[in-house]
Amino acid sequence: MSDFAAEVDKLAAPYPERQSAILPALRLAQERHGGWLPPEALEEVAEAIGIAPAQVEAVASFYDMLHLAPVGKHMVEVCTNIPCALVGAQQVLDAFERELGVRPGETSEDGEFTLRAIECAGGCGRAVVVVVDEVYREPVRTEDVPAIVEELRRAD
């Protein structure tokens, strides 16, 4: 048994039915494939769960946190839903666009950064919410943006 299949076995153990482990398995596969799910990752998950790859892709394509195209080493996500938008989310997003040189949805040419706008992240009391590599930064003001980008560049 492959190492991945053994890991999926562990993930599936708490569930009465094995297919329930598909989201945990996809999350693990995504981590192991550099933050996205190439076709071979979907096949690994399908084999480990015991369902068809098409079923896995149907699930993977439904969820916003699962990526079917390559992403940058760092993911910068700015909430632009109403509560954040009311207090300057667009200006924060604009600042990241300027600093990173990409538009929302795009990845920088050096493969370092993907910038995304996201829907309400559940941090409206400390808007504007920015999520960097799954960690919430809140609140973020336009003037905080260069330091965040600098910090990420330095971390490499």
Partner: protein, 438 residues
């Protein structure tokens, strides 16, 4: 003063994420008490409390529990809806981050009440911080022997608003696309894996321990009779002190925004209030004296929903607000029902046309007609959540919509606080996987 005696009790002065600290303030005593009671006696207390679901629908929890099918020969499941994603809502996140054991204790008491051995907490995928806190708290509770023979699975979602809808949550938990199921059968009869299932919101379950501790009748006396108890109000938007405020139901909207929230910053005027998250209909400043409970807000023509109060000042263009709201629902529509899938797209196009000043008079009528053709015509409420508020934006701010047509552009002339807000539905990071051979 904010009441923080129920789900956020002691969270200000102690680190309740630590089991010993939680136990030091009486934590897990209600569980011990409940386990000495017969399950049906616990349900009796829930019924007596008249605790209404805090996820948005406000259905009495005790009644929901009493609907569970008995004698089916199948296991009974408890699912906790921790997929908090209604725009404006951030209460469950704070409850779980600051008081995770309260949720776990509520799960264990509820599991006892409905004779379930399997609890699933469906946690919003983005909430990594909550996941880490909850995982450690669960592990501590397990090591302390508190779980008994109950298994509690912490299941992370992966980014889909619709999975907060209870039947979509079940589909997702079964490892499928999160698309709602037709009902009947209701989850109480055929829920997770076709078994009787109780689904409740985090705050609802986290309220259960105090009901067991002090009795359903005690709880029923807090706030107004038809909707008693406390609710964590999530206050956001153009307000001086946004944040979570746990208050008795029936508290005043004006007190929340002005006394607790400190009013509108920068000397601006209040223009509109969304009282329960973006799926609820807009209220206007003349309604500030409305009491915040399920029935009073309904009488005022809106919904308490998830008690997410979004404050909007006079810089916001209401067409842009309606557009941004609709873009969200278009993005989150699961695609199963045609009226919602196609209707939200059509609404977005019409609102964009209005905002750009390209709309003709007939297109405003068409917008309302599209809304009408979504409302009540889908398997779940998402379509209603998209269309209902837009109808009310137009009704309450008709002059502003009309000016976009008459003046051939936005009357705010680029000065609106919501000008040009980019919506995720306009970005396409899910590129096709297939590669074209060279």
């Amino acid at each position: 003063m904010p009441i923080r005696e129920i789900t956020l009790a002691h969270a200000d002065e102690r680190d309740l994420t630590k089991l010993a600290e939680y136990q030091a303030v009486g934590g897990y005593k209600p569980l011990a008490k409940a386990r000495k009671m017969k399950p049906e006696a616990v349900v009796e207390q829930l019924l007596a409390s008249n605790l209404r679901g805090r996820g948005g629908a406000g259905f009495p929890m005790g009644r929901k529990a009493s609907f569970l099918a008995k004698g089916t020969g199948k296991p009974t499941y408890l699912c906790v809806n921790a997929d908090e994603s209604e725009p404006g809502t951030f209460k469950d996140r704070e409850i779980m981050l600051e008081n995770p054991h309260r949720l776990i204790e509520g799960c264990l008491i509820t599991a006892h009440a409905i004779e379930s051995k399997n609890v699933f907490i469906y946690l919003r995928g983005e909430y990594l911080d909550v996941f880490l806190v909850m995982r450690r708290a669960l592990e501590d509770a397990r090591k302390a022997g508190l779980l008994g023979d109950v298994t509690v699975v912490l299941h992370r979602g992966a980014g889909a608003y619709i999975c907060g809808e209870e039947s979509a949550l079940l589909e997702s938990l079964e490892g499928k696309r999160g698309q709602p199921r037709p009902r009947p059968p209701f989850p109480a009869v055929s829920g997770l894996y076709g078994s009787p299932t109780l689904i409740n919101n985090v705050q609802t379950i986290a309220t259960v321990p105090v009901i067991v501790e002090k009795g359903g009748e005690w709880y029923a006396k807090i706030g107004p009779e038809p909707s008693p108890g406390t609710v964590v109000f999530s206050l956001s938007g153009n307000v001086e002190r946004p944040g979570n405020y746990e208050l008795a139901l029936g508290s005043g909207l004006r007190e929340l925004i002005y006394d607790l929230g400190g009013g509108i910053p920068g000397g601006r005027e209040l223009k509109a209030i969304i009282p329960g998250g973006s799926s609820t209909t807009v209220m206007t400043p003349d309604q500030l004296d409305t009491a915040l409970d399920f029935n009073s807000v309904a009488e005022a023509g809106s919904q308490l929903g998830a008690a997410a109060v979004i404050v909007i000042d006079d810089r916001a263009c209401m067409v842009q607000l309606a557009l941004r709201s609709t873009q969200f629902y278009m993005h989150e529509s699961c695609g199963k029902c045609t009226p919602c899938r196609e209707g939200t797209r059509w609404m977005t196009q019409l609102l964009q046309t209005l905002e750009d000043g390209r709309a003709e008079q007939s297109e405003l009528d068409l917008l309302l007609s599209v809304c009408d053709r979504i409302l009540g015509k889908c398997l779940c409420a998402l379509g209603d959540f998209a269309a209902g508020p837009v109808v009310e934006y137009v009704r309450n701010f008709r002059d502003e919509f009309q000016r976009h047509i008459d003046e051939g552009g936005c009357p705010f002339g680029g000065e609106s606080s919501l000008k040009g807000v980019f919506a995720p539905v306009d970005q396409h990071s899910h590129a096709p996987v297939a590669e074209v051979p060279a």
